[in-house]
């Protein structure tokens, strides 16, 4: 058994393997992960909207030992990850972190949020730092979700 504590180091190896297959295999996997995550989140996100998303990520913050703040505003949910244990473990790893490790998060989150009627501004900040920022809002036909690496 791979301990749940160490799943992300295995995940990191899956990303390397799929990336080496080419042909969009890794992106296909992100979509499969997103569909898998629907069973944990989608009903909650649809039923309770931004408040349901805050409840989900507040639980994740505890269980995954994150240093993370989720702030609910009337029109948006802001998530600030100051210490991501997932990237932290992928980096604290004798096999080395997959260089685009961070991309799996927006890879599964954005399609799921779209199904829940929301869009997301996802700032990875820097793929070598275990930090990121998300702003989640109800869908707006004028603005699409976006992923960026601001470096700030």
């Amino acid at each position: 058994m791979i301990p749940s504590d160490q799943f992300v180091r295995f995940y990191n190896e899956v990303f390397k393997f799929l990336d080496a297959q080419g042909g969009g295999a890794l992106e296909d996997y992100y979509r499969a992960v997103s569909e898998q995550q629907e069973r944990h989140c989608l009903a909650l996100f649809k039923a309770e909207g931004l408040a349901g998303m805050k409840a989900y990520w507040d639980r994740i913050a505890v269980e995954e030992n994150c240093d993370m703040t989720c702030t609910l505003h009337a029109d948006r949910l802001e998530i600030v990850m100051r210490r991501c244990p997932s990237l932290g473990k992928a980096m604290d790893n004798d096999a080395g972190a997959f260089e685009r490790y961070c991309d799996h998060c927006p890879g599964w989150i954005l399609p799921l949020l779209a199904k829940a009627g929301c869009r997301c501004d996802y700032d990875i900040i820097d793929r070598t730092l275990p930090q990121c920022r998300l702003t989640i809002c109800p869908n707006d036909p004028q603005r699409a979700s976006r992923i960026r690496v601001s470096g700030l």
Binding site: M1, E13, F17, L18, Q21, A32, E64, N65, A95
Partner: protein
């Protein structure tokens, strides 16, 4: 001493993510695809365990088994003799959590144990034999497949211990 020794809260839903991951890779790339991923995991991620096994020392593997099976709440025991370390798992916490989530274990789910143990033993004086004895129960054996040289034997004996 363990290279990775997490503390704090557990996110057991990662067992569900593991189930999906092995199903995804296994169904598309076969058992050989899974074997490649688990070989990299066993020999590169868990490099210190693998290096010790190559030197005839199973101490870090046994410590890993004991620490994480305890942390996950498994019902298990480990017995060690001169030639064999046997972990008997009566209640696998990963399978139990899948059931709690209402998930059915993938046909590849136990390959995380079988293929990981096999990859750990590749090119070492040990061989791995994993016998599934029911859903959520198994017997994992790491046993000497060839005699150790004197130095290896010394190292292994320093690290071995009984655990129940």
């Amino acid at each position: 001493m363990l290279r990775y020794r997490e503390t704090g809260e557990l996110h057991k839903d990662f067992h569900g993510s593991m189930n999906a991951a092995v199903e995804y890779v296994g169904s598309r790339y076969g058992r050989e695809g899974l074997r490649e991923v688990f070989r990299n995991t066993a020999q590169k991620v868990y490099r210190s365990i693998y290096k010790k096994l190559k030197a005839g020392d199973w101490s870090e593997l046994l410590e890993h088994w004991h620490y994480f099976m305890t942390r996950e709440g498994a019902d298990f025991s480990i017995a060690v003799t001169d030639t064999e370390a046997v972990m008997t798992v009566r209640r696998c916490p990963a399978v139990a959590h899948l059931r709690d989530l209402g998930m059915t274990p993938s046909v590849f789910f136990c390959d995380q144990t079988v293929l990981l143990n096999e990859a750990w033993c590749e090119g070492t004086p040990f061989e791995a034999v994993t016998e599934t004895t029911g859903e959520g129960s198994c017997v994992q054996r790491i046993r000497l497949s060839r005699p150790l040289n004197g130095r290896d034997d010394e190292r292994r004996n320093e690290g071995s211990h009984d655990s129940e």
